[in-house]
Each structure stands twice: as C-alpha cells, then as structure tokens.
Amino acid sequence: MVGYKCGLCKKIVNFDVKNIGMQCPYCGSKVFYKERPTVAKRVKAR
C-alpha cells in the first residue's frame, strides 16, 4: 500500500500499487500528490 495526498481534499489515501484508476474515496478527485518519504537525502552541491 502506498500513501498519496488528495489534490482536492488533502486527505491521505492509501492505494495498492496494482490499483488502476485511482480516485479519492472522500471527494472523488483524481489528482494525487506523492508524499516525500521521511528519510534524509544526500545531494552533491554541484
């Protein structure tokens, strides 16, 4: 299960990775944002 943030109602919705045709169960929106994972990321300043 992967967590997404609904673009309309901002609620966190979990979907199965195999799921086709994502839709928010609360508001019906089809726009989602992938939340940034809570791990530190090391980047070279170049």
Binding site: R36, A40, K41, R42, V43, K44, A45, R46
Partner: protein
Amino acid sequence: MKVEVVKLKEDYAKLKIYDTAPYFVNALRRVMLADLPKLAIEDVIVYDNTSPLFDEIIAHRLGMVPLKTDLGVLVPRDECSCGGKGCANCTVRYTLSKEGPGVVYSGDLQPENERWGVVDPKIPIVELSEGQRLILEVEAVLGRGRDHAKWQAVQAPGYKYYPVIEIDQSKLDEESRKRCVEVCPKKILVEKEGRLVVTDVEKCSLCKSCEEVCEPGAITVKGDETRFIFSFETDGSLSAKEALVESTKILEEKYKEMEKLLK
C-alpha cells in the same frame, strides 16, 4: 622584480609589477583561478523540502554561496588525517531550517561556529509559500577552482602591458589632433597649447584607434613587456591581500616541486 600596490581594498586589488615577463604574471593569474583553495558547500543532506525547487537545484544554489575561509585552520578533505571521513579540521557544518511564507536567504545557514559565517547574508535561495518547509544540513569543504567554479575565490584576475605612447608633435596638425581626441575611447588624449598630450597613460587600453586616424608614425602605442598592471577581485571568502599572498605561496611551491623533479 618590483611590485607597487596601486589600490588595495578588502575584495579588490590593483598592482603594478615591474621587471618581469608575461609568463610569470600569467602563471600568477592562473594560480589564482585554479589552485587557490576556498571553502564551499559540497554535501547537502535534505531532511524536508516542500519548496517549489528540487533538492538538486537548492543544493547547487547553496554550493555557490561564498563562505568565509580561514586557510590557516582548515585543510583539504583529501589531505586530512581523518582519511576523508570529515572532521573539524576539514569540514564545516551548517544547518538551515525555515518555514514559509518567506524567502530563504544564504544568511539562514547557521554555522557551527560564527567564524564560518556566509559572506553575503542576502543571497536568495528559494521562496517558500504558506506551509512549505525547507530543513537541511550542509557540509562545506576546501576545494580548488580547477574542480568547480564554486571553489574559485578570485574573480576576473587580469593583466595588461603597461602602455607606452609616443607622440611626434611635428607630424600632427590641428585636424589630426582633433581626430585623435575624438576617437580615443578612454578619453585620455587632450589638446593643450597646440600639442597633443596624454592625461593618464595607465587608462590606455592599447586599442590603437589614435594611431589609425593619424599619419603613420605620428602616434605610436606599444605595450611594455616588462611592466604590467595586474588587477583582480575576490568573492569575499578571502581578502584580496590573503588571496595574493596565498597564490604566490602556491606558485613558489610549484616551482620548488619542479626543481626537485628536475634534479
């Protein structure tokens, strides 16, 4: 060799170097560009970034921020006794934590010690809107300009031959004197009591425009190949004096190393 300091500011210097050759002045210029070490951000550890810019863009922008450098304290990471792991002798750490709305500036970088502050605290990094956040930690290390422009402490080092302008007054009539005065882009030629005179020879850019509008031989513009006007500016990480002294030390070491290899 003789060196005369014409102007010395915190981040700018202008020198006159006498009795030398172009190759030496050029070597000094190239050492300033490529071999002079300075402190710059190399690693960025991003904990949270909900800003409109990607982590890589923010890291690149942070890398270009000039940081105060003390070459007497720090050593390059690859020469450090820690073996490149990053210790207090070779690495300086900063933290940045800001929440929108507002602009994240270079001054928001908090150094572990105040001596390593940023040179200019008003360099914008990214603009944050309501609810956006930027939390990161950075590691700055000493590096050289030949590896990346962020480690280039000296900007626009340049030299020119000392101008020598010879005027044969007998070959100049009123008309040609007027043409010379008009054509000079630096406005250093003036007509005075029926003679053409140079007001400030050092401002001459050796463009030879005055030579072209006169009779052949009336004006001769040459560059003296033993005298140079050398100028440069720094980004503030090192003072102009420090940059010059350190560059000459590096150049000296290079010559010594070469001498050793040739023996």
